[in-house]
């Protein structure tokens, strides 16, 4: 009759079936292919590196803090790559040190936002009901205060230090993270494998930790990365307005604020710190966008 075996007919053909790859592999491949994201990663990595090796390359006492009045307002030259400021201090050294502060503050703040956000968001999303309602109302109220204002108020009330800045920026970032986590949890909660987890006898905490949270990781990473860039901006804004770290600490915002007074004499004092902020923020945003494109399967171009 025919030359095919019964089994061949039964199973149909394997011709034309596409290979499948795991989601993580897929994400990584897409990240690698995204040239901009890779550039962003490298630049950000370089900046972090700069911050880490700062103490070994630059002497804090001498270059960053101590005024050298005879050296004031030198434009960028061989000795001072980025020139000197109003007090004669080397801009490059100050910038490098500023990196440490900005990165430390923003990364810590984001860790704070993410931690609190994950806890509140997952609990609210999982348990739902009135509990969820009350928590989210509270978060909504929190979110209706402009975040910069909230940060400023906290900083003003609690003083000017790195710890307060971290707290202020971190707290301002909680609503966004909470909402993201909660939304993800809500969408996953109804799915079957959570039901299966319950059927297997896990209690609520186990289910949250082992089943829900691993699936939230992607959105959290994306949100968290994007929050880093807004944290850096907020950190500079706070310092610029005078409620962040106090001079003579070389935070980028501080430097901008100082430079502002001398726009006529030394325009570069205004340009350089801002440029640094912008480059850092851009690098992080590129990374964040790349992560989002890579991890969110719906956003295929």
């Amino acid at each position: 009759m025919t030359n095919k075996t019964v089994n061949e007919i039964k199973n149909g053909s394997t011709i034309g079936k596409r290979k499948s790859i795991s989601r993580r592999q897929d994400a990584w491949i897409r990240m690698k292919n995204n040239k901009f994201a890779v550039i962003g990663m490298f630049v950000f990595g370089a900046i972090i590196l700069m911050g880490i090796i700062a103490p070994f390359v630059v002497d804090y006492e001498q270059d960053v803090i101590t005024p050298q009045m005879e050296n004031r307002f030198k434009s960028p030259n061989v000795q001072n790559w980025l020139g000197t400021d109003a007090l004669g201090r080397d801009m490059f050294s100050r910038l490098v040190y500023g990196t440490r502060i900005s990165l430390f503050v923003s990364l810590s703040a984001v860790v704070l936002s993410v931690t609190v956000g994950v806890i509140i968001g997952s609990v609210a999303g999982y348990f739902g009901g009135n509990f969820d309602l009350i928590i989210m109302r509270f978060i909504d109220i929190f979110a209706s205060i402009p975040s910069l204002l909230l940060s400023i108020t906290i900083a003003a009330a609690l003083g000017q230090s790195i710890g307060v800045m971290i707290l202020a920026i971190g707290v301002a970032g909680i609503p966004a993270l909470t909402r993201t986590v909660r939304a993800t949890v809500l969408s996953i909660r109804k799915q079957d494998y959570v039901l299966a987890g319950t059927a297997m006898g896990g209690n609520s905490w186990q289910i949250i930790t082992f089943h829900l949270l691993p699936n939230c990781i992607a959105p959290i990473i994306v949100q968290g990365t994007l929050r880093i860039s807004s944290a850096i901006l907020q950190c500079s804004s706070l310092s610029f307005l005078g409620v962040g770290v106090k001079p003579p600490m070389p935070e980028w915002g501080n430097m901008l604020s100082e430079g502002r007074n001398f726009m006529r004499q030394a325009g570069y004092l205004t340009i350089i710190p801002g440029l640094t902020i912008m480059i850092t923020v851009m690098a992080v945003n590129l990374m964040g966008d790349g992560l989002r494109d890579a991890l969110d399967p719906r956003m295929k171009r």
Binding site: T2, N3, K4, I9, K10, N11, G12, S13, I15, G16, K17, R18, K300, R301
Partner: protein
Amino acid sequence: MKNNKNLVLDVSNLEVEYRTQEGVVHAVNGVDIKLPRKSTLGLVGETGAGKTTLALSIMRLVPSPPGVITGGSILLDGQDIFSLKDKQMEKIRGKDVAMIFQDPMTSLNPILTVGEQISEVIRLHENVSQKQAEARVKEMLELVGIDGERMNEYPHQFSGGMQQRVMIAIGLVCNPKLLIADEPTTALDVTIQAQVLDLMRGLKDEFDMSMIMITHSLGIVAEVCDYVSVMYGGRIVEYGSVRDVFKNTKHPYTEGLFNSIPIINAAKRLEPIPGLMPDPIELPTGCVFWPRCSYAIEECKKDVPQPKYFNDTHYASCIRYEEPDFKLKGR
């Protein structure tokens, strides 16, 4: 074959592909359609067979990128539509050839009234005044069974069946020579389906137009169509009058389709066609259907089978008919 002057639609060897990130999707692979005036063609096939792409090609609405028409020609009432400029094609769309789509809920603009959406077509193609257009709109609505007073309501205020009637009104208002209906009743409840089909049958006669009815239901084909094309893997595997194809089925795939329909009184078991539709990026060589065909032989893998005619209009593309005694098992 057919006198070309009498054809409202003449598709020859149409080839359409989609160039995507994952690869080239061969959606339509050498399709011929010769549709005479005032006749209705049913285009049957499972999802992914290429029916919608074929329909969109006739309207030159294939989304591009990623779609590309790579070969063949389409003559609409004798006119080569591939040679037309965009402006000229716009004049034809909605007027000489119209299309209605599967899901009426999403196919109507939610922020324009139903009346606006119908009159838009009129005023685009005909030189009429506002008042005249409105009168025509009311007329059309009544014709499709909707109260003319409702022309100022919005789509979301209508039920699914009524929305589809509105779509039909939009399609027919300029009296096209050819109406393409892409699964018009699939998204509707069964009882509403019957109503809409009835309506379409009546209108078809009244407007004296040709129609292509795209569907995956053989039942609908039997109700409404004169001819039927069976599509698989971007090709037409069997074509003929409804009577010929239904009573005298020639292609194994068509036979498989009929066998998949449950018949209430029959003692026979359902025989589904084994396997899955082929991945349009990597189509099988030779006959598209051979991996799932219970009649397949080695030869089937080699070349694309040519149509074999059984009478003036009925053909099937199966290489086994080169054997003098080949017959299907029948059902």
